[in-house]
């Protein structure tokens, strides 16, 4: 009886782990240009709350940004973020995201395949040190959490300039 209970806990733990790792785009910080009064900030916050996968939105007037945090087990739809800012009547600026995935090499380009998603992000403007770190991760196939700034997409592929890299335990 004790053994069965232990097994159940172990299975439950195994089920929970992939759920936590599936939160692929876990956080996004968008610059909202033109937002300069509290009453207008409400519209921005309300629109960003409709972004798929969003749990919380926090607006900072001083920084002129809005931070989106993904719901547990869900990924933020980064394509919706800029559109939501525009729908609120403002102009989206730089978008910083934290994303989980695996790094692969493709024609001398480094790509991040976002896990449990078809999304693939090109990694650009890498320092030699960072590039080497990422190449090592290509070989190991380990999942990583990257934080950086998204730039304009090319050929429908978003481009990310990573600033921090953390290996994620499976």
């Amino acid at each position: 009886m004790k053994w069965r209970r232990f097994n159940s806990l172990w299975i439950l733990l195994l089920l929970l782990l992939p759920v936590a790792a599936a939160a692929e785009v876990t956080q996004a910080v968008i610059a909202v240009d033109g937002m300069s009064c509290p009453f207008c900030a409400f519209g921005v916050e309300k629109k960003l709350k409709t972004v798929s996968g969003t749990d919380k939105v926090a607006v900072s007037m001083r920084e002129g940004t809005a931070t989106l945090v993904a719901e547990a087990g869900k990924s933020l739809d980064i394509g919706q973020i800029g559109r939501s800012v525009r729908a609120a009547g403002f102009t989206p600026g730089l978008l910083r995201i934290t994303v989980v995935g695996t790094v692969k090499e493709d024609n001398e380009n480094l790509l991040l395949d976002v896990r449990h998603s078809t999304l693939s992000i090109q990694l650009v403007r890498l320092s030699p040190q960072l590039k080497q770190q990422l190449l090592d991760l290509v070989k190991s196939g380990a999942a990583v959490s990257l934080s950086g700034t998204l730039s304009e997409a090319q050929a429908d592929r978003p481009r990310l300039r990573p600033e921090t890299v953390m290996e994620v335990r499976p």
């Binding site: 937002m35 509290p38 207008c40 916050e45 002129g64």
Partner: protein
């Protein structure tokens, strides 16, 4: 058949009313509903699919120093609804409830006439033509166009008979309006400027003079001095001015010499703005009144209002 004192009352009262009511109606016209000036509209955005409600109370006092010692008091409660049709288009609708009371000395003593009820409704649309957003600041230019619909009763009577057209709750006419507003807003201050024109049409053999106005507003954040985290509430000190020109009214196709003119209001105010609510108050004081004939002069217009984001 009017009695002598009725005729005397009319002769004393009629001339002055015409300017004042038109001014009040014009003041109502651009009732703003975004964080904005208190006495006119703004070019700031309304998010697509979202709404804002504004409730507004206005009290106007006007009088003259003539032999009739006329005193006019107008109270108005209006509701303004705003809807963001898209990030560029916003729709506005406003309906007022009015109480108008006029007192004057007549040969038979001091008399008053009073009327209450819904006034004319206004609907207008605003389009953001130019938008330049930068971190912590925005510059916008937005033309608007609308119509005043004759919802208010325009054939009210009291014990003296039919009220003069200027005392009626509604004009009875469909009156188009258009204008343009520009807004520059930063985290510390905001400047708005608006130019508008209202073409009054005739009804009941009467036509209010067309109205043109130029409005300016400066809002300065006085609290908090330093911005904290998140979305803090702001308190703005507000100073506005309203320059209003009104053409002469027409009665039976003829110009009324005791109507129209130019008025310049200055309006200090205060505004508390949070993420979902705005509370504000302003006092419009006439700095210059260059009115035609025996038109009544404004003493002041007091405004108290709130706005709520939905």
């Amino acid at each position: 058949m009017k009695s002598d004192w009725q005729a005397a009352w009319f002769s004393l009262v009629r001339p002055g009313l015409r300017t004042v009511f038109a001014l009040l109606l014009l003041t109502v016209m651009a009732a703003p509903a975004v964080a904005a000036p208190i006495t006119f509209n703004t070019a700031l955005p309304v998010a697509r699919g979202e709404g804002i409600l504004r409730g507004q109370f206005k009290y106007l006092s006007a009088s003259d120093a003539g032999s009739a010692n006329r005193e006019l008091a107008v109270s108005m409660v209006s509701l303004v609804g705003v809807y963001g049709l898209s990030e560029k288009w916003a729709l506005f609708g406003m309906i007022p409830y009015l109480n108008k009371e006029l007192e004057a000395d007549t040969p038979s003593g001091r008399r008053s006439r009073e009327v209450s009820g819904l006034g004319d409704a206004r609907f207008w649309a605003r389009y953001t033509l130019f938008q330049q957003d930068r971190p912590g600041q925005t510059l916008r230019i937005a033309p608007f166009v609308g119509i005043e619909m004759p919802i208010g009763e325009d054939n009210e009577n009291d014990f003296l008979g039919r009220l003069p057209q200027s005392l009626q709750l509604g004009s009875g006419s469909w009156d188009p309006l258009l204008g343009v507003v520009t807004t520059w807003q930063t985290l510390e201050r905001q400047i708005d400027a608006a130019f508008s024109y209202k073409l009054n049409t005739a009804a009941n053999g009467f036509k209010f003079g067309d109205l043109t106005r130029f409005d300016l507003s400066y809002q300065h954040r006085i609290w908090p001095r330093e911005l904290g985290a998140g979305v803090p509430s702001f308190v703005y000190a507000v100073l506005e001015s309203n320059l209003i020109w009104q053409d002469r009214n027409e009665v039976g196709g003829n110009n009324d010499p005791d109507s129209g003119g130019t008025t310049l209001f200055i309006a200090p105010g205060i505004q508390w703005v949070s993420k979902r609510t705005v509370l504000e108050s302003a006092l419009q004081l006439p700095l210059i009144q260059d009115l035609n004939g025996k038109a009544l002069e404004n003493d002041f217009i007091f405004t108290l209002s709130f706005r709520r984001n939905f």
